[in-house]
């Protein structure tokens, strides 16, 4: 007779630790696979997991096996044609006929080991060895989130918060303080009474004893009226709301949408922005986005319009920088916000604008945690690249720029921009 047990509601993730161990051990291979896969990923895919494949030979668990060679006798079922002494040409490639199955395990081992990781693990692998280059500002952002903390005692509060120890302690103190004088008198009188008891009985002594007894009675009565616990003794645990510091980041996406930027180029830019956004949201509690697109004039738009609408015309980069600067001044105080700028462009700019650009970017950089410029271009240095190229030396901590030519470059470039700096 057996017991039946329903285990279906037991925790399912019994292998979770082992799985984590596996991911930990093969972190490098997984990262490589993630980086490879990123090329083929759709822009909108970033909220799902990823299929990882690792060459099987890399994750093998070695054991002693027999190799090829020597003599083996196989016993095989399903004989239809052979008799003793028949010779069969050796089947090629291990599989198929006459029983290669037991002989060599080398038929396997060429395939990749394939498995799924979830979004969190994907992002972990993606951003594993990257960091935000500058210190983050943590700011008390006002009345957003509080944490209840214990802080001392109060004389009023909810009954649930009553502090018994504190209440009784102050009750004791009060009782000692209020009764001290009377108790001292009582002790003296009792001593005198005891003395009287020793002495011979005289009318004076009797009168004095009666007086003493009366006074003692009064004092005892008074002492007994001191309350054990009074309203003023009661103490409560005090709690207060402590504001929780939050780190906030704002990310400015600046993109050139002039006629020279075609849809493919914009897609590349978008991928870069998405990576940056994912990365920032992992590091900050709150991340806001500001989209600025520009041709000859700049405009703040929403995400939809930013990526999708088409414009034509020339390019004046300074208009976007100007707008960014005024938005920072109006809405994002650098004391409170971590400001990140990401600019994507094909590198075109009006030649006359270079001067103004340089001046503006020099005003913006001190406000920013980091400003990255990616130039999406097939050919060599464009005007904007030249405009910015002086900045890297001077503002190396805050400013970086990179070339992107195709989708495959995005992750390496991103990786380069946010590489962990060894201190």
């Amino acid at each position: 007779m057996g017991f039946l047990i329903d285990r279906r509601n037991n925790p399912k993730q019994k292998s979770a630790v082992n799985r984590q161990r596996f991911l930990r051990r093969y972190r490098e291979q997984i990262q490589r696979s993630v980086a490879d896969n990123l090329k083929g990923r759709q822009i909108t895919d970033n909220d799902r997991g990823e299929q990882i494949s690792i060459p099987t030979k890399d994750i093998g668990e070695p054991q002693f096996h027999h190799g090829r060679g020597g003599q083996i006798t196989h016993v095989v079922p399903g004989n239809e044609e052979y008799t003793r002494g028949d010779r069969i040409p050796r089947p090629q490639g291990g599989g198929g006929g006459g029983g290669g199955q037991q002989g060599s395990p080398d038929g396997e081992g060429m395939d990749d080991f394939v498995f799924q990781i979830n979004q969190q693990e994907f992002l972990d692998a993606l951003f594993d060895d990257m960091e935000l280059p500058n210190l983050t500002k943590r700011q008390l952002s006002g009345l957003e989130e509080f944490q209840r903390r214990r802080g001392g005692f109060a004389s009023d509060g909810a009954p649930a918060n009553l502090s018994i120890v504190r209440s009784l302690r102050s009750a004791t103190a009060r009782r000692i303080a209020l009764g001290a004088g009377r108790r001292r008198e009582l002790r003296d009188l009792e001593a005198e009474l005891a003395e009287l008891a020793e002495m011979p009985q005289t009318p004076e002594h009797d009168a004095r004893r009666a007086e003493l007894l009366e006074r003692i009675e009064v004092l005892r009565e008074a002492l007994s009226r001191i309350p054990f616990l009074d309203d003023v003794d009661i103490r409560y645990h005090r709690h207060y709301n402590e504001p929780v510091p939050h780190s906030k980041a704002v990310m400015f996406c600046v993109m050139d949408v002039s006629g020279s930027m075609d849809q493919a180029t914009k897609d590349l830019a978008k991928r870069f922005y998405i990576l940056l956004y994912l990365f920032l949201s992992r590091n900050y509690d709150r991340t806001e986005l500001v989209f600025i697109r520009h041709h000859t004039v700049a405009k703040e738009v929403d995400e939809e319009e930013f990526f999708n609408s088409r414009e034509t015309g020339g390019t004046v980069v300074s208009s976007a920088l100007d707008l960014m600067k005024s938005i920072i001044e109006a809405r994002y105080s650098p004391a409170e916000w971590n400001i990140y700028g990401a600019q994507a462009s094909d590198g075109d700019n009006w030649p006359d604008d270079a001067q103004r650009c340089t001046a503006l970017i020099r005003q913006i950089l001190p406000l920013c945690q980091y400003y990255a410029y990616v130039e999406i271009t097939e050919s060599g240095d464009k005007p904007l690249w030249q405009t910015y190229s002086g900045l890297e030396g001077e503002w190396g901590e805050v400013f970086a720029m990179q070339h992107i030519t195709g989708p495959g470059d995005i992750y390496p470039v991103f990786h380069e921009l946010f590489r962990k700096q060894s201190a």
């Binding site: 007779m1 161990r21 003599q71 083996i72 196989h74 016993v75 399903g78 010779r87 029983g99 080991f113």
Partner: protein, 510 residues
């Protein structure tokens, strides 16, 4: 097949007519199966039957079917592999997993139909269970009473080591031990049942003593002695086949906790060893009994015709043997072979032919239950096949033996299912189930105690078969890590060293 002309019990009402199971129904079926199994004389541990979901089944797969196991990345890898294949529909999961412990734990998948649940209860909880309890290998080498306690100890101990010495350090030792797991089996000493607490005390005691012993071993003053004398005193005096045991006791540089981990892996390996040696018998025995128990239920009227049709469909799928030239062929199906041999044993006992009387004079015409009980208790795959594979089954499966000599560019058929071939086929098949042939035979041969402490292992080549070079080098690398000094692996054939892998701290040489 199962005929009982004499005894025809009165028909009863079927236990159920639908195909979905409920706990009440499973209870009813289990009770009836237990009764019938008892009538057949099956002796089992108490049963603990657990219903689990597919995800839990994958968890069970991943931890080597142990209800409790320590953490290791290789289990995670296994889990991910199974999960991926299952989700893509490339593989199905087992209907059940049974674990050799007392009480005997069987996991049943919730997706199974009622028929399947009845089948696997009969198969696992009565078939496998009675095999675990009575087969001599299991009786000698495993202790069903204490295994769960031991695994609990092992998991806690390894977790403790990870906290104290870091995950990487523990992982290095476990990786090395897993590589040598198949060579960590002790064939003679019997493990001893211990509770968790006793195990802990013993461990602490052992740590101290082990370290003392090791210090003693290496406390040799460098006395100049004749070369010849070195050869006389070999260490170990006899070659040792349990490599992990040898390392646990003798590796000079290991910390006590590392020795304990080696011991844990060795114990687990030892525990699983009988299962690897009795695959055919164990499955054959379980299939034989689910077949007869469910037929008995049908005879009594407890199950319907529909139930039996469904059951027979599962049963035939399980015991189907594709021929060698079929695309589905992947070696001999242990279920087919085992089930076929068990059925043959019963047939030979009950209604032997002249051929059977000639081949099996001892068992022809004896009471079948006694014969089968004897066979189940006292054999392992290798000896079971050598003893009981009948000519009729060889004909049925059309078995033939092919010699594959790597020096020749053809294969030669050495025996087929005819009078001249039966014995040869039987011997060859038996040899294929001898773990000593399947796995390379490697022993600890010598330690250069007075010199550089190099450890020499010898691989006795079986019929000239070499080691697979790549994986052997990897394993030797792990071995070197545990031993701490140079390790030499020699492949020997006819007393002559054919090849050699040397691993020093500096790397692989040849």
């Amino acid at each position: 097949m199962a005929e009982h002309p004499k005894r025809e019990p009165p028909k009863r009402e079927p236990l159920s007519t639908e195909s979905d199971w409920t706990f009440e129904l499973l209870q009813d079926y289990e009770r009836e199966i237990a009764r019938i199994a008892g009538n057949f004389g099956l002796d089992t541990y108490p049963n603990q039957i657990e219903i689990i979901s597919s995800e839990q089944m994958m968890d069970a797969y991943a931890s080597a079917a142990m209800p409790i196991n320590y953490h290791h990345w290789s289990f995670g890898k296994h889990f991910l592999g199974v999960q991926n294949n299952y989700k893509r529909g490339r593989m199905g999961l087992a209907y059940e997993i049974v674990f050799n412990s007392n009480p005997c734990i069987a996991y049943l998948m919730e997706e199974n139909t009622l028929t399947m649940q009845a089948l696997v209860i009969a198969h696992a909880s009565y078939g496998h269970n009675s095999f675990f309890k009575n087969n001599y290998l299991f009786r000698t080498w495993t202790d069903a009473e204490s295994i769960i306690d031991y695994m609990l100890f092992a998991r806690n101990y390894i977790a403790e080591c990870e906290q104290r010495h870091g995950i990487d350090a523990v992982e290095d030792v476990l990786d090395a031990c897993h590589a040598l797991m198949n060579h960590g089996v002790d064939r003679y000493k019997r493990p001893y049942p211990l509770s968790v607490e006793e195990e802990r005390l013993k461990r602490e005691e052992r740590e101290v003593i082990l370290q003392q012993q090791v210090n003693e071993l290496w406390k040799t003053l460098p006395v100049a002695e004749a070369e010849a004398q070195q050869h006389e005193h070999r260490f170990p005096e006899e070659p040792q086949e349990n490599i992990l045991y040898f390392l646990e006791k003798n590796a000079p540089l290991l910390e006590p906790w590392q020795r304990e981990i080696i011991r844990i892996v060795r114990k687990v390996s030892q525990y699983l060893y009988p299962q690897r040696q009795t695959k055919v018998m164990n499955e054959g025995w379980a299939c034989f009994w689910h077949f007869h128990i469910l037929h008995e239920m049908y005879r009594e009227g407890l199950v319907t015709d529909g139930f039996m049709m469904e059951f027979l469909q599962y049963h035939t799928a399980v015991v189907y043997q594709p021929p060698f030239n079929s695309p589905y062929y992947s070696g001999i199906n242990p279920y087919t072979l085992g089930y076929g041999m068990m059925q043959e044993l019963r047939r030979i006992s009950e209604s032997p032919t002249d051929e059977d009387r000639a081949w099996f004079p001892d068992i022809a015409g004896t009471p079948w239950q006694e014969t089968m009980d004897f066979a189940m208790r006292n054999f392992k795959d290798e000896s079971f096949i050598l003893q009981f594979l009948s000519p009729r089954l060889i004909r049925e499966l059309k078995l033939f033996a092919v010699v594959d000599d790597q020096d020749k560019d053809y294969l030669e058929v050495s025996a087929i299912h005819d009078e001249a071939g039966y014995q040869k086929v039987r011997e060859s098949l038996s040899a294929n189930y001898d773990l000593g042939n399947i796995e390379p035979y490697i022993q600890v041969y010598n330690v250069n105690v007075r010199g550089d402490r190099a450890l020499t292992l010898r691989h006795e080549m079986h019929r000239g078969r070499p080691l697979e070079q790549g994986s052997a080098e990897e394993v030797v690398r792990h071995l070197q890590q545990l031993w701490g000094f140079d390790v030499i692996l020699e492949s020997v054939s006819g007393g002559e060293v054919k090849s050699r892998i040397v691993h020093s701290e500096l790397g692989i040489g040849a």
